[in-house]
């Protein structure tokens, strides 16, 4: 099969899949599965007719009316997929919006955990004021941290895979920034214990853990870039 044929088959698939309101993950599954199907049909028809255009026309007929298949696919999308779609965000949305969504999700989770802990210990009366303040503080600080971490991840993605290309200097600056930020957050969280002196072992452990967050951000940035490249490839097909 030539590249041109493959692109034409992708257009057939994309006519069906693009209008479906579903998460990127669901759309990716449908695209891959339909593409392998239409490729098989095309090869079958090409073997029968011996002609590219005829085989493509026959593949289109066998697949059915795209609008009808789109409507059927839409009905097959589960309610849970709406949540996934919300969580994934729109392709190409600004980083702050992704960060706000992550922070919102983390805040909701932190509130639920805090609520469960309070309920399990008989409400706020069972808690000393300092512990209660620490719990509420953590529930507020964790979303703020994740907001910043998401922004750092987007920054890492840009410096590693952005339009300006790879530059060691920018990668080192971004990585050092994220490492330092995480380290400061950990120091802030341990402030009561570290007030009189900073224990060397714990500080080194915090430094190592912070370094892991840099690796995590790089991995996340890379996977997000791959997703964006895939998205651009399909979004670039002219389905009119």
């Amino acid at each position: 099969m030539t590249d041109t044929n493959l692109t034409q088959l992708k257009v057939l698939v994309e006519r069906i899949v693009r209008p479906v309101r579903a998460s990127l993950r669901t759309k990716r599954k449908v695209r891959e599965e339909l593409l392998v199907h239409v490729s098989g049909v095309f090869e079958e028809e090409f073997a029968r007719l011996g002609d590219d255009r005829g085989a493509l026309a026959q593949t289109t007929v066998r697949l059915g009316d795209p609008a009808e298949v789109t409507a059927q696919l839409q009905k097959s999308v589960s309610a849970g997929d709406d949540f996934r779609r919300y969580w994934e965000g729109e392709p190409g949305e600004p980083a702050w919006r992704t960060a706000a969504r992550v922070a919102g999700g983390t805040a909701a989770l932190a509130a639920v955990v805090l609520g469960i802990m309070l309920a399990a210990t008989g409400g706020t009366r069972g808690w000393p004021l300092a512990a209660l303040l620490a719990g509420v503080g953590a529930a507020l600080a964790v979303p703020a941290y994740f907001f910043a971490l998401t922004l750092f991840t987007a920054w890492m993605e840009r410096v590693c895979h952005g339009p300006l290309g790879w530059s060691w200097r920018r990668v080192v600056v971004a990585a050092a920034g994220l490492w330092l930020f995480t380290l400061l957050c950990m120091a802030g969280a341990n402030r009561p214990a570290w007030q009189s002196r900073i224990p060397v072992t714990e500080a080194m452990t915090a430094g190592l853990i912070s370094a892991h967050f840099v690796v995590f951000a790089c991995a996340l940035g890379t996977s997000s870039t791959k997703r964006a490249i895939y998205q651009r490839e399909w979004a670039g097909l002219d389905i009119a």
Partner: protein, 114 residues
Amino acid sequence: MTLISGDKLRGHLEAMILSTLSDGDAHGQEILRRLEAAGCGLLRLKEGSLYPALYRLEAAGEVKGVWEPESHGRRGARRRIYRLTGKGSRKLEVSRGEWRQFVRILGPIFGVQA
């Protein structure tokens, strides 16, 4: 004989898929091949309709789809292999019972022996 297609198959497609998968795991194209073979070439499905039906069955837990580990030279695209689950087998039995009842009731109305 005339071909059976479109509206006449609507409402039966999911049960037909379940029945096809009771013969063994299969990917989309193989399911269509089995349906066409079982229908002696007289069944004509719009092939795009198969996948929404498979996704509905999967969401209902009646079939389970697993990606093939390798694309076997299909330029990165992998097939999804579907398997009938226990719930799907039970649903198939119910559908078969409903179909027998349908034929038993409508057969005499059409003047055809069930």
